[in-house]
């Protein structure tokens, strides 16, 4: 596995606030990494550092380049949406395509046209005439038409309806993604991308609280739904988190074998959202 993004002891401070606190990780080629964290956890700061939009301490290398100092070179090989709905309102769709075509060597206008032909967006329209959803569709179509080794999406579907969100992720997986490409994505709607991801990374208070491949999760984590006497016995195995669901207790375990919990209740692999809550709240408790 070649490492596309490599971070060693990366930190970023704003005054006394450590937005990213001594973080180390690797993202391999051909992976889809989900970066999950609450607001203010440092997700966006970390993404900005990866994209060369902000300077940071420590060693950070993206495609073998220093993102902040070799930003222009890096941006030829990656594409990203820093935030949705930031297309300038005065520009026309075809002007925007002209501009991207002339500054980005990896942009395929034909591909963008093909993607746009599936929408109601007309080339002569000005951005101000488009709905918020259409602006996002346009932005996503443009970056999807860039032949990039790394695609970074920060909350790409914020404010879009569910039909478009499903369609977008479907297209991302079917049309865009292949073994050569790597995707780094953040979103609050974790459930929607759960099946898409190959890797997941949780970040809280600037620190990584979990970094694992999706395949490894069932081995490391297990959720037990139980009640009464059994719950009491299960607690002795040191669950990392406990919550109530319909009068029953749900206990989350890390590194506890399923055979040890056998017979104590219903076992299953926790979903990412539940696991996230367990890791973040469990650590705080």
């Amino acid at each position: 596995m070649t490492s596309l993004v490599s971070a060693r002891n990366v930190s970023k401070t704003f005054g006394s606030l450590r937005a990213v606190d001594d973080v180390s990780f690797d993202i391999g080629q051909g992976r889809i990494m989900g970066l999950i964290g609450p607001n203010g956890a440092g997700k966006t700061t970390l993404l900005k550092a990866v994209l060369g939009l902000t300077d940071c301490e420590g060693n950070l290398s993206v495609l073998g380049l220093d993102p902040f100092r070799q930003r222009k070179e890096l941006l030829r090989h990656i594409s990203f949406i820093a935030d949705v709905a930031v297309l300038p309102r005065w520009i026309r769709v075809n002007q925007l395509l002209d501009f991207v075509e002339s500054v980005h060597p990896g942009f395929s206008r034909d591909r963008a046209k093909e993607l746009l032909s599936r929408t109601k967006i007309r080339p002569k329209s000005k951005i101000r005439e488009l709905s918020k959803g259409m602006v996002t569709q346009l932005h996503l179509s443009i970056i999807s038409a860039i032949d990039a080794k790394l695609l970074v999406l920060d909350e790409p579907t914020l404010g879009l309806d569910i039909i478009f969100r499903k369609e977008f992720y479907g297209n991302l997986l079917n049309d865009y993604f292949d073994k050569e490409r790597t995707i780094l994505i953040t979103t609050h709607q974790v459930e929607e991308i759960e099946n898409l991801l190959t890797d997941v990374m949780f970040i809280n208070d600037g620190r990584i609280v979990l970094h694992a491949s999706m395949d490894a999760l069932p081995e490391r984590y297990v959720e037990l739904m139980t009640s009464g006497e059994n719950a009491e016995r299960a607690r002795r195995l040191n669950p990392i988190f406990e919550r109530d669901v319909f009068g029953k207790k749900v206990l989350t375990f890390e590194g506890v074998g399923r055979d040890q919990l056998h017979g104590l209740g219903e076992l299953r692999t926790p979903g990412i959202a539940d696991l996230f809550v367990a890791k973040v709240k469990g650590a705080a408790a």
Binding site: A82, V100, S102
Partner: protein, 307 residues
């Protein structure tokens, strides 16, 4: 690098349509005013209308000077508008993209901050003057055509009186040179405006002009000197391009009435003193100040974190 500049400057023209809309609108107004002026004047006094353009009782040289004055009058209105436009453009150039957050899109593409800021500087220094000049040249032709129609209706020989004595090539060359020289002379202001538009969180106009007004006042009351006043206000009026000739000397009023001084050079080009302009230390000092402000603007765009 050059390909990117072309794309970036084209983007400036898409965004700031006022770069060509403003001069066109003003040119239309000037053309209408010139025409109504001619008609109005000639209804008052039959001799006067011809004094403006192609008077028969003038020699070739006087007619040519009168023509230069008319053409330059049209130019100066548009050049004044150009300077106002340049101020507003420079103050908006790096501010609007932050206000509408589109900077996040621009910075997601493989274009450096230096390339972007330089494209905006080039727009202010070169593109706006060239666009305005094109409008001026067309306006000159329109004004002369309108005058020709008016005069030929009154039975004058316009080919001889107007087109024969209109020093167009001379006037256009001189105008173009002055228009490219003026922004260079005022470049420290342009650099300052770009810098303000890169850093200010609100009202760039106010932030840019407050120090220009307050610093000279402070200096005068605290130190008693007028260095800032001279740098800010005298600079705009004393461009060392015109060999010290003031337009007041062209028209003479004496016992023979109002007349044009026959001693002044008839063309605009011969008034220009390029070696004086490029030899002026003030020009080069100004360009250095402009360069410092532009570097600061690039630095701010690169290192600021707006999140």
């Amino acid at each position: 690098m050059i390909g990117n500049q072309v794309a970036l400057i084209r983007r400036e023209l898409w965004e700031h349509r006022s770069i060509y809309v403003t001069p066109i609108v003003i040119a239309l107004i000037v053309s209408v005013m010139t025409m109504t002026g001619q008609v109005l004047v000639s209804t008052i006094d039959k001799a006067v209308d011809i004094a403006i353009l192609g008077a028969t009782n003038m020699g070739e040289k006087e007619r040519s000077i009168a023509m230069t004055v008319l053409l330059s009058g049209v130019s100066s209105v548009l050049i004044l508008a150009m300077w106002v436009l340049t101020i507003f453009y420079s103050l908006d150039a790096l501010y609007a993209e932050r206000k509408d957050r589109s900077i996040l899109l621009w910075r997601s593409l493989p274009v450096t901050d230096a390339e972007t800021v330089i494209s905006k500087l080039l727009t202010a220094l070169v593109v706006i003057p060239l666009v305005t000049f094109a409008v001026i040249a067309v306006t000159h032709l329109v004004v002369l055509v309108l005058a020709s129609i008016w005069l030929s209706v009154r039975g004058a020989n316009v080919w001889h009186l107007i087109w024969g004595s209109a020093p167009l090539v001379d006037n256009w060359t001189g105008t173009l040179i002055s228009m490219l020289a003026l922004p260079l002379w005022l470049s420290p202001f342009i650099g300052w405006f770009l810098f303000v538009s890169a850093f200010t969180k609100r009202s760039p106009l106010l932030v840019a002009f407050l120090p220009i007004v307050i610093l000279p006042m402070l200096e005068k009351s605290l130190v008693g000197t007028t260095l800032f006043f001279e740098a800010f206000f005298l600079r705009s009026g004393t461009i060392p391009l015109f060999g010290g000739l003031s337009t007041g000397e062209i028209l003479r009023y004496d016992t023979h009435g109002l007349r044009i001084d026959g001693e002044v050079p008839s063309g605009l080009l011969s008034l220009l003193d390029l070696s004086g302009f490029f030899g002026s230390p003030s020009l080069w000092l100004g360009l250095v100040v402009c360069g410092l402000f532009v570097t600061a603007a690039i630095y701010v765009r690169r290192y600021r974190d707006d999140s």
